[in-house]
Symmetry: C2
Subunit: 369 residues, 2 copies
């Protein structure tokens, strides 16, 4: 890995940390642009490996394997934000890692993330640092109940979280998350959850897709509605917030920015940032079918120093995740009109496992009409 | 290969004969549906191999390799029509080959193909069988000049063809094509070349995409304009002709049907069939970007016994092939608005080699407005 210009031409090789469905869809998008792909994953039979020319199966702590991997590719990217800091450091030593360390450090720690937002004048839920029982008590006093205690690191899909309904329950919640360094977040009474998937190119160009509405079930994304029903000014604000975040983090790649929409009358600013994901995002899967340039291609374009594509939609859409045995419905889904099926090639349909997704397309401008 | 129902569910394996760009795009489409892919190709570093889980590198005459291949997959398909008859026979002995032998036999021999059209009441250029000098003379007398002498088999992209401007040149044209079994075709004064990419499912369902206009350069497809500018009745006739062909051949899969549009006033029927390709077709590449279900996914759906997708367009489009060093323009193309780039991962940009294509999208109904 010795790319000086930061531009990776067709024929170059993208290294991807992680071999799940996001890596798989990134790999397919890279191949479509004439790029080779090398997947690095500790998992045998990783979904991404099947559609990639090169695979390293090794742990993220395997320094020798990481160095060989880094030396064999032109740029490294990742499909998950919890890349160990040491892994990222080893890779960055050998060459180009995109997105860079600032975004990883910010997204990996909920306290750092919230403080970053605060510094940017971006609203978040009220929060307090919890590092021991004393700071837990102080946080409860400060934030109040109900609230939610979350590990600062390594949480996803509702994991590493415990609700606190009253001060009495604080300690058991703290036990529940294993007394890990934590953040206490106040409950926010929001109207809906929305997100903006935004790209920033190596030259600083920024391209946000339209804000979308997300519906969760059991803490896992169930559906994305495209576009979100929002007043124009709020949609503009959502795009502006996402754009500010990637600019201030000097970010290169695609990022998912999750937001809460507060009820009308809550104040001038109706958007709160919940969290960011420094990677392609489940709430951007609809772009594969409703945009000429998908979030996966956009990410590859960004990390390769290519011009970004225009993030316009040609259709409205509803994306639905296929979780666990939802995937058994493939034949019914295949017979549905204007429905695009994406299956991730995973063997076993365990409960809660993301097996695929479907996108239903609607003519542009008709979904909310 | 022991599939009795003829339905291949996600998790099944598609075998593809041929490892070029068509095989590659088929493989990616199959992966997207949760299917595994096994490429069979004599070529080392075949473009399709890179995006497929399994690869056999062996000759089409290698019976043992063919049998192992057939036994390891649930259905066999192909990316080129010149599959040797013996290869097809060996594979069919072990299980399911789609499209079936009738389509191959028809498309592989220009005389059989033309006679099939004639039997269906479908117009073709005037033609005559040429098997020796005597039949060549008779053909010239019958068809007249200018005309074109083509090998009955194994022609593509203008190869195996020689023009005959006057009877004097007949013999040298015959020499030029190596005195192979041939067909003499009369020149047709056509207005434009169009094609219909049509799919037929295992249950007999037929789904033609809209007719498109094709522009050739040096006998190689240069551009496909979507939709073709045609009176509605002619577009309907084009779809009907393509549908009749796949129905009468009891075809399963996607087929490209090339037609000539005669000038107005040429008679009631303005469409002539030039040739058929029993496979996904270059003139259908635009469907990757302008339809929810691409021709590649449609072919996979058909050969797996899935319901076909609706072949509707959400956008107008112009597809342009990147031939030889056209591909060096990738960076300019990447910066073009609403342009989707597809590169095939081929190493060397030899003259005449298809290296990729781009599709430019336009809002539905605007390209001809």
């Amino acid at each position: 890995m010795s790319n000086k210009s930061g531009i990776i031409a067709p024929g170059g090789t993208i290294g991807i940390l992680g071999g799940g469905q996001l890596g798989r869809m990134l790999a397919s998008a890279a191949a479509e642009l004439g790029l080779h792909v090398h997947i690095y994953s500790p998992e045998k039979d990783a979904p991404a490996a099947e559609v990639s020319g090169h695979v390293t199966c090794a742990d993220y702590e395997d320094e020798a394997a990481l160095r060989r991997f880094a030396d064999s590719v032109d740029v490294v990217t990742y499909e998950f934000e919890n890349v160990p800091a040491e892994t990222a450091r080893i890779l960055a030593e050998r060459g180009l890692v995109r997105p860079g360390p600032l975004a990883l450090a910010t997204a990996q720690d909920r306290i750092v993330e919230k403080n970053f937002m605060k510094a940017q004048g971006i609203l978040t839920a009220p929060f307090a640092d919890v590092s021991d029982e004393a700071s837990l008590r102080a946080a409860i006093e400060n934030i109040g109940c109900p609230s939610v205690l979350k590990t600062r690191r390594f949480g996803y899909d509702g994991k590493g979280q415990a609700k606190i309904l009253s001060a009495d329950g604080a300690l058991s919640a703290y036990e529940e998350i294993g007394r890990a360094p934590a953040i206490l977040e106040g409950f926010v009474s929001f109207e809906r959850e929305i997100s903006v998937v935004v790209a920033r190119g190596a030259d600083g160009e920024i391209a946000p897709y339209d804000p979308v509405e997300n519906i969760h079930r059991n803490h896992i994304l169930h559906q994305t509605l495209v576009p979100a029903k929002l007043p124009d000014a709020v949609a503009d604000e959502a795009r502006a917030i996402a754009s500010r975040i990637v600019r201030e983090l000097d970010y290169v790649g695609v990022m998912g920015v999750e937001m809460f929409l507060l009820a009308e009358g809550a104040g001038a600013q109706r958007l709160l940032v919940n969290e960011i994901a420094p990677r392609v995002h489940n709430s951007g899967h609809w772009t594969m079918d409703a945009c000429i340039i998908s979030q996966f291609e956009q990410h590859i374009r960004a990390i390769c120093g290519w011009p970004l594509g225009r993030p316009a939609r040609h259709s409205d859409a509803v994306m639905t995740n296929l979780i666990g045995d939802d995937v058994d419905q493939w034949k019914v889904l295949a017979s549905e009109r204007d429905t695009s099926i994406h299956l991730y090639g995973k063997g076993e349909a365990r409960p809660g496992r993301k097996m695929g997704h479907v996108t239903r397309l609607y003519a542009l401008g008709t979904r909310l009409a």
